[in-house]
């Protein structure tokens, strides 16, 4: 029998070469109790809960948001009616960057990639008819995260829901913005201060709120390998822990409310191993490095989203299959919640049909495949355990390199992450071009004559921008001007002290100051961050 193989080198998305088969030699030294532990036991490699999905399925959380608050409110209600269990809000670019819809820079972007939010009036509409004590809401926003959280709390007040009953997550992860996502406004120092203010405020007043969703997703989407995503994300996490400790908090006071957000890409086993390695590293770091005593501080809880970059515009139905396998990997990796991308998202916002298929994909995995019946079924696989170890080693090596540069913020200033990621992105693109990495429908099995099907895509009506601007201008014209002005003045004053800013932001929000007005106070005081260069 011939031992000839199809190609010389086998490597997946992250360009890690893999062997033909793995044996006990590849996991020599692995100690069950020390390195894996039972599910729900330190170091949580096998999962943060003893019963995992036998106890409670993961939260199926589809990201939604487009147009004005009315349209997104309708989509939220649709998703809840379809059996979705948590809401996830996408904001448009002007909102993410702290510009009101009538700002010149917002022209053409209002409501395009998410919902447009300017003032509390928009939030009142966004959550109209949705009792905030019965849903958990995730909001993907960073520099203005404090403002959005305050708007949410203001709506809770209007609904008569106590803050101890509201639950949800704000992304609030500015470090990954400097590294990859680029939706920053201010320089690192004041940005970190806003974050620690949120952490200590919610620890006292909104105990069920997840304060930061430390995100690898955007790092990965920008071109990082799995190991880079893992390492950079956990390094960011450690940086937040340090910042909060430096601001005088006790680690066990806030660490249980930190959560993570990872990408799930195509390389099936590598992705599963990534989640397992992430939990093990975090548990050890929190316990050994930061001295956390509460087991909840050791547990890495995570949201996952299937890889947007893996979607192809060509033969787009294939995306349904990609998303299914990625979702399966996330579940086998033990995620706490999951967003599955819609197959038509490579080109535009997803249509309702596509969103439903994406959600059904998760439901099929949960109900039909049986994978939710056994916790961490791949434990003990030579390959998966070896990959878990390898990813851990690679992450630790990156931690050393980051440390040698003086920490995460210094490394950002030195362009370290950005360069590492850009190098990986370029290498991957080259591999695709020379056929070393094959993508079905793109550089393999492409239908030359693929009929350009008139894809049905969701378009944002240009009237959206006009309507939104009208509403915001009306809010500005009809509010109690003296109250708004004094709330902004108070915020400005407090921002120059070390007082916690959350009560002041809440006062601004309740006085119907707009997001742009609040952000401009800080732009004025703190200046704007500028990106590092390309290389």
């Amino acid at each position: 029998m011939s031992h000839q193989e199809r190609k010389e080198r086998f490597a997946g998305v992250s360009d890690r070469e893999v062997k033909r088969a793995y044996t006990p030699d590849d996991v020599a030294g692995l100690e069950y109790a020390r390195d894996l532990g039972d599910p729900g036991e330190y170091p949580y490699t096998r999962g943060v809960h003893p019963t995992m999905y036998r106890g409670k399925l993961w939260t199926m959380r589809q990201f939604a948001g487009f147009g004005t608050a009315e349209e997104t409110n309708a989509r939220f209600k649709y998703l809840l009616a379809q059996g979705q269990t948590g809401l996830s809000t996408a904001f448009d670019m002007p909102t993410l960057l702290g510009y009101d819809s009538d700002h010149a820079y917002a022209n053409g972007e209002v409501g395009k990639l998410g919902v447009a939010i300017d003032s509390l009036r928009d939030f009142e509409i966004l959550f109209d008819g949705i009792p905030l004590d019965q849903v958990s809401t995730s909001m993907t926003i960073n520099p203005p995260a404090s403002i959005m959280l305050c708007m949410y709390l203001a709506v809770a007040d209007q609904q008569g829901v106590g803050w101890d009953k509201v639950s949800g997550t704000i992304q609030n992860d500015i470090l990954k913005d400097y590294i990859a996502q680029k939706t920053y406004i201010y320089p690192p120092e004041p940005s970190l201060r806003l974050i620690t203010d949120i952490i200590s405020f919610t620890a006292k007043h909104v105990p069920k709120w997840n304060t930061i969703s430390i995100s690898g997703y955007h790092i990965r989407e920008a071109g990082a390998t799995a190991a880079q995503e893992l390492a950079f994300t956990l390094a960011d996490g450690m940086q937040y822990v340090q910042a909060a400790i430096a601001a005088g908090m006790d680690v066990d006071e806030f660490a249980p409310r930190l959560s993570f957000f990872f990408d799930v890409h195509n390389d099936f086993f590598e992705e599963i191993a990534k989640f397992r390695a992430a939990r093990r590293i975090w548990a050890r770091v929190m316990r050994e490095k930061f001295g956390a005593k509460n087991p909840r501080s050791w547990m890495l809880r995570t949201h996952a989203q299937t890889a947007g970059v893996s979607l192809t515009a060509q033969q787009r139905e294939n995306n349904i299959i990609r998303v299914a396998m990625q979702a399966l990997a996330a579940v086998l990796g033990g995620t706490q919640s999951l967003h599955t991308n819609s197959y038509d998202e490579a080109l535009a916002l997803p249509t309702e049909d596509a969103v439903r298929i994406a959600l059904r994909t998760q439901q099929v995995i949960a109900e039909e495949t049986g994978v939710a019946s056994v916790v961490d079924p791949l434990a003990g696989s030579y390959y998966v355990e070896h990959l878990t170890n390898r990813l851990e080693e690679e992450a630790l090596a990156y931690f050393d390199r980051i440390e040698a540069q003086g920490g995460v913020v210094k490394a950002i200033e030195k362009n370290f992450f950005q360069r590492e990621i850009a190098d990986s992105a370029y290498r991957f693109q080259r591999r695709m071009m020379n056929g070393d990495y094959r993508v079905v429908g793109v550089n393999a099995y492409a239908d030359g004559a693929e009929a350009k099907k008139e894809a049905q895509i969701l378009r944002i009506d240009p009237a959206v921008q006009r309507r939104q601007i009208e509403r915001t201008q009306q809010v500005r014209a009809t509010r109690d001007q003296a109250k708004a002005a004094s709330a902004l003045a108070e915020l400005r004053r407090a921002s120059q002290t070390s007082e916690n800013l959350m009560p002041y932001i809440l006062a601004c929000v309740k006085a119907y100051c707009t997001e742009g007005e609040i952000c401009n106070v800080w732009r004025d005081l703190w200046g704007e961050y500028r990106e590092e260069s390309v290389y």
Partner: protein, 132 residues
């Protein structure tokens, strides 16, 4: 003579996704072009001014937000107003099939959607920039 093709790789508007722009910038560099990269969040006025001051042969716009139909035509008009209509304007990124003809009609010379081949982009650029 020591002629080099100069290309401005630009992002327009509130569009943070620069993975593609950076990959394309490197590909151009590796193909011997001089690449001016101006970063994200650029206004059309600023991109037009940069294109003129740098006297580039090519302006390559990468768009992954939804505003390509608003901002790219604005840029082209600004270039025309200043007599720079000989510059080759290319667009790439997430651009739906049905928008391509609108962009071509506005004066974009080539549109490269998701999954475009880098070598193809470079070949196209060489051919059309040299021809002008």
């Amino acid at each position: 003579m020591n002629r080099k093709l100069r290309v401005l790789v630009a992002k327009l508007g509130l569009d943070a996704h620069d993975r593609g722009a950076k990959v394309v910038a490197r590909a151009y560099r590796d193909a011997g072009f001089e690449v001016i990269y101006t970063g994200i969040y650029q206004r059309p006025e600023a991109v037009a001014e940069a294109a003129i001051q740098e006297d580039v042969d090519v302006v390559a716009i990468s768009s992954l937000a939804g505003a390509h139909l608003t901002l790219i035509p604005q840029l082209i008009h600004l270039l025309k107003d200043q007599g720079a209509d000989d510059m080759l304007v290319l667009a790439g990124g997430v651009i739906p099939e049905e928008d391509i003809s609108a962009l071509l009609a506005e004066g974009v010379a080539g549109v490269f959607g998701p999954g475009s081949d880098l070598d193809e982009i470079i070949r196209f650029t060489r051919e059309h920039a040299a021809a002008k």
